[in-house]
């Protein structure tokens, strides 16, 4: 497994792989890898001849009051995870390798980027779509792998790929969870042991939503309300949003459509740690 911080050298390596007729899979990450990331690399390994993982804590997707500086950096462990999961190449750029001092170009998905995560984290998705476009140009993948945990992110990236004719197929992989249901996240390590005990209630609220959607007569709005009541019942989770929305447009659903689908989405703060999770629903 090669490890390289130069965009030019990464691009040369994937071009050489393509010249040899190999298909290329890319797994963009911010490092601090966990079993969720490993599942992405394994999936990429199973579907492509040549697998590139990228590890880059992208400053432009963090707000000024967010956790960029304290975001966990665990490069040695990350590289071991990549090697074990079968990556051929890992791209580990520094910020200066990715952004010229006078850079001024952004890629923006105007509608989907403004709601939910976008409303709570202004500019976040501009940072995501811009860096993902760059990573796709550098690694030229046939397929790129994202986790469903960041539901809105994968939706926005799919929209961007379609709108800009990017020649890549987006593969969204299932959420990987801890034994108690907490979705794996690099930010879980911020939680105190007390907070860690409460964090599973986010998953419990989503399970409640799934059960209500499948069996009951509750409207999407009623399901959302029940999730919020469950979360607020913990006394320590601060709900930023708890909604049931259209899985493609993210518009909040009002009425239940038999045979239809929705997605329950939650963002909540636990102390200073912000957690998100989601669950697809079938009515």
């Amino acid at each position: 497994m090669d490890v390289e911080s130069s965009p030019k050298k990464i691009h040369a390596a994937v071009r050489e792989a393509r010249r040899r007729g190999l298909t290329i899979g890319c797994v963009p990450t911010m490092g601090a890898l966990h079993a969720g990331h490993v599942s992405l690399v394994q999936r990429a390994r199973s579907e492509n001849d040549f697998v590139v993982a990228t590890i880059f804590v992208n400053p432009t997707q963090f707000g000024p009051t967010e956790d960029f500086s304290r975001y966990p950096r665990t490069l040695d462990a990350d590289l071991e995870f990549c090697r074990a999961a079968g990556a051929d190449l890992v791209f580990t750029p520094q910020v200066a390798d990715m952004y010229a001092a006078d850079a001024q170009t952004i890629v923006r998905v105007t509608g989907l980027s403004t709601v939910l995560e976008g409303a709570h984290r202004p500019g976040h998705f501009d940072g995501v779509t811009t860096v993902v476009t760059k990573l796709f140009q550098i690694t030229e993948p046939d397929r790129a792998y994202f986790g469903q945990k960041d539901y809105q992110q994968q939706l926005i990236i799919r929209r961007m790929v379609q709108d800009l004719n990017l020649p890549v197929t987006i593969v969204t992989c299932p959420i990987v969870r801890e034994a108690d249901g907490l979705a794996m996240s690099s930010r879980n390590r911020y939680l105190s042991s007390e907070e860690r005990g409460v964090a599973k209630e986010i998953f419990q609220a989503l399970q409640l939503a799934e059960q209500l959607a499948g069996s009951g007569s509750d409207s999407p709005q009623e399901i959302a309300d029940r999730m919020r009541v469950h979360l607020e019942g913990t006394g320590v989770l601060t709900v930023q949003y708890a909604v049931v929305a259209d899985p493609e447009t993210l518009v909040t659903q009002q009425t239940r459509v038999s045979g239809g689908a929705g997605v329950a989405l939650i963002a909540a703060k636990l102390g200073s740690t912000r957690l998100i999770d989601n669950q697809l629903l079938n009515y």
Copy 2:
């Protein structure tokens, strides 16, 4: 020479060319081709194994009061020009081939896009950079060819290519002029014969700037003033801007730097027709 309106089929054709080891040159145009465009295709022909020209009047780069609907469409003649200049493939999409009804992604070069043309044509460069990104993804060129006539456009595209790591080299080709110096433009055909007689004064003003820069002691601001006086002296040209700017940043230059360079840029209206032109200067 193949002619094709489907982005997928164009992409398949260039992928096949690349698989055969051919280098790819792309010439993006809005059709209504003239000798300036022909020089771009010829240059692409001389530097690449496989040449794709694109013909697409892109609605998103026209403002609501601009000339999108009356912009000249001359497809049969355009294809003859492409064939004669040596194109292998011509991409002729319809608007619906390029923009899904629910498309919402833009590519924006935030700084350079706001001055000069960008100030007079709000949103214009967002349309340009978005469609050029799309065309680059569809045609995957090694080199792409633009005319210096649209000086700010080629500068913005160069900035975008660098900022987004697009794997393409931008080649800027010299302005091709009519016998009297008028820069070739698809919009010249809007001019009445009387207007056509006056239009050369734009070139005359640029020649004056070149002469003053090379021989005199005038400051860039004085040179710009002299250009404006020359243009306004016609009594019929309405100057939108006549400036001398830094060739990389487009910031208006104040003081002459010996051995330095500048660019004189003019936009003027002649009746309802808007014309632009420019000239690099050496002090």
